[in-house]
Amino acid sequence: MVKAISNDKPNPMLKILFPLFLIIILGLLLAGIKQENFVARQGWGLLSAEIMVIALAFFYWGFEQGRASSREIALIAVLAAVAAVGRVPFAALPNVQPTTFVVIVSGFVFGPRAGFMVGSTAALVSNFFLGQGPWTPWQMFAWGLAGASAGVIKMICPGIGTRGMSVFNVAWGYLFGWIMNLWFWTSFIQPLNWQSFLASYAASFWFDTFHAAGNAAFYLLFGVGFTKILKRFRRKLIIRTIEDQAGSLPD
């Protein structure tokens, strides 16, 4: 008898964890609307950073609780390094880099959790070499979310074709910039109204467009080849153990 050991067994801790973190974040947001209390008086610059760190902690905790095998860990690390290295040769072109595309393809093939880890690790590790800055947690979050959402989209519509994925890549070019803008807008602009929001977002429009166009180009050029290679390695990840005659399975 052949039994497959899958690594994505739901952990009971995660069921409590997700609502808990959601409540904390929503609570902070709601408390921030009222002007008088302690939460709001520290200003949105600090508050947005706190919410970001809590969200990151939630994702990392989820990864810690899950059962990741040694193969999965090594694979995630390698993909993150590939995505991070992608930032280097294109440093001269503003925002055109294959990192987002590599993260999205990894999330698409290996699922949301691996996608998040590849994205956030790529951001952190590349910044060890290109310079850590206040943008690091936001990049970790944005790229992590890109990977996780690619995993989710595979679950929702598995038959999404090359065309659909190119649109998805373009969308993440803009979404990434918009998440990064939140940091800039909340920390350095006041009052926070829709005029200042619009002005900050208009300032980044061309950078986001470059990013989106780069993503689409990379996906159209390398997407199919990458997905094929990664799918082959996903098959290698699954370990099957054959039960012995007595029928007992060593753990």
Binding site: R41, Q42, G43, G45, L46, A49, Y60, W61, F63, E64, A68, S69, S70, R71, I73, A74, L75, I76, A77, V78, A80, A81, V82, A84, V85, V88, P98, M117, T121, A122, L124, V125, S126, F128, F129, L130, G131, Q132, G133, P134, T136, F184, S187, F188, I189, Q190, P191, Q195, S196, L198, A199, S200, A203, L221, F222, G225, I229, L230, F233, K236
Partner: protein
């Protein structure tokens, strides 16, 4: 080129801190820079960070950080005056623009933009200081107690990053030896050549990852509960700096709750110094934050102090 910004061990005093003390110090600087709005306080923090960067022998690295900051500073200084209509002292009135209404530039908005650029400089300089004084491995070691797997992923990827850049060069030269000229051909042909380069890199590094996994398995990874070993020493200086950071943070929060350290820009500029309390608190915060710089300076001059702390 890649090692330019990576941490370099120079045997400096500030690099000998326990990562917990160093991260608390940097975190305090960051929180205070985001919490204070009084320009004097923001400038004071910038001064402390600049002194610390000088003590960490990082003025050159700071320069490249300042270049990145410059672009964002210009943006902050332009957007704030143009879109904010809350200021009372109007300097210039422009034409009517459909979405934003009438363009008005007020003195208050310019001052706010200037103060926020100082805040931006503060934050970016704190991260520059982080790059200079905390070794990535030391910081990761701190987290490995409760987030072992994530830290393993991060440190594996950090190791692979430079190796992969070299690998890329190797693949490129092998391809060139086999007669592939990366400069020749139409755009389409060039893309084909580069795409094979990238595919080879991906394939070979993925193969490597399986080998890494096998070697981890051979070293009993995941066979039982993790143990953790730390080589970081906790010295008297760490206690001193930790209490300095706690003092600065406590004083800062107390001050913010009692109206010191914050500053009203709109509708009209407030007084910079609203009483002796403002100056006293500023001095307390700056002194507690500059303890590492002062002790570091003292240790360079006085070896008895260095041996004791």
């Amino acid at each position: 080129m890649l090692d330019k910004l990576f941490y370099k061990e120079k045997g400096l005093f500030l690099q000998s801190l326990h990562p917990l003390a160093a991260l608390t110090y940097l975190g305090t600087l960051l929180v205070l820079a985001l919490a204070f709005t009084n320009p004097l306080y923001l400038l004071g923090i910038l001064l402390v960070v600049a002194l610390a960067i000088r003590a960490a022998d990082g003025l050159e690295a700071w320069e490249s950080y300042l270049k990145i900051a410059l672009f964002m500073m210009v943006l902050v200084m332009i957007i704030n005056p143009l879109v904010v209509h809350a200021g009372k002292t109007v300097i210039w009135q422009g034409p009517h623009i459909p979405v934003f209404g009438r363009l008005t530039v007020s003195l208050e908005a310019i001052c706010y933009g200037a103060a926020m650029s100082v805040r931006l400089l503060d934050i970016i300089s704190v991260f520059c200081l982080y790059n200079l004084i905390v070794h990535p491995d030391k910081a990761l070691n701190l987290f490995s107690r409760f987030a072992g797997k994530s830290v393993l992923v991060i440190s594996l990827a950090t190791r692979m990053f430079p190796a992969m850049v070299r690998e890329m060069e190797n693949i490129r030269s092998v391809q060139q030896m086999r007669g592939v000229d990366f400069r020749k051909g139409s755009a389409k042909e060039k893309v084909g050549k580069y795409s094979s380069l990238v595919n080879i890199l991906l394939l070979s590094s993925l193969e490597d990852s399986l080998e890494i996994a096998e070697s981890m398995q051979a070293r009993a990874f995941g066979s039982g509960p993790r143990t953790c070993y730390s080589r970081n020493l906790w010295r008297p200086r760490d206690t001193l700096f930790l209490s300095g950071s706690a003092c600065a943070l406590g004083a800062g929060i107390w001050g913010l709750l009692h109206g010191f350290g914050s500053y009203t820009f709109y509708p009209q500029l407030d007084y910079l110094i609203s009483g002796p309390g403002t100056v006293a608190l500023l001095l307390i915060v700056l002194f507690s934050l500059s303890i590492p710089v002062l002790i570091g300076w003292g240790c360079g001059r006085w070896h008895y102090l260095k041996s004791k702390i």
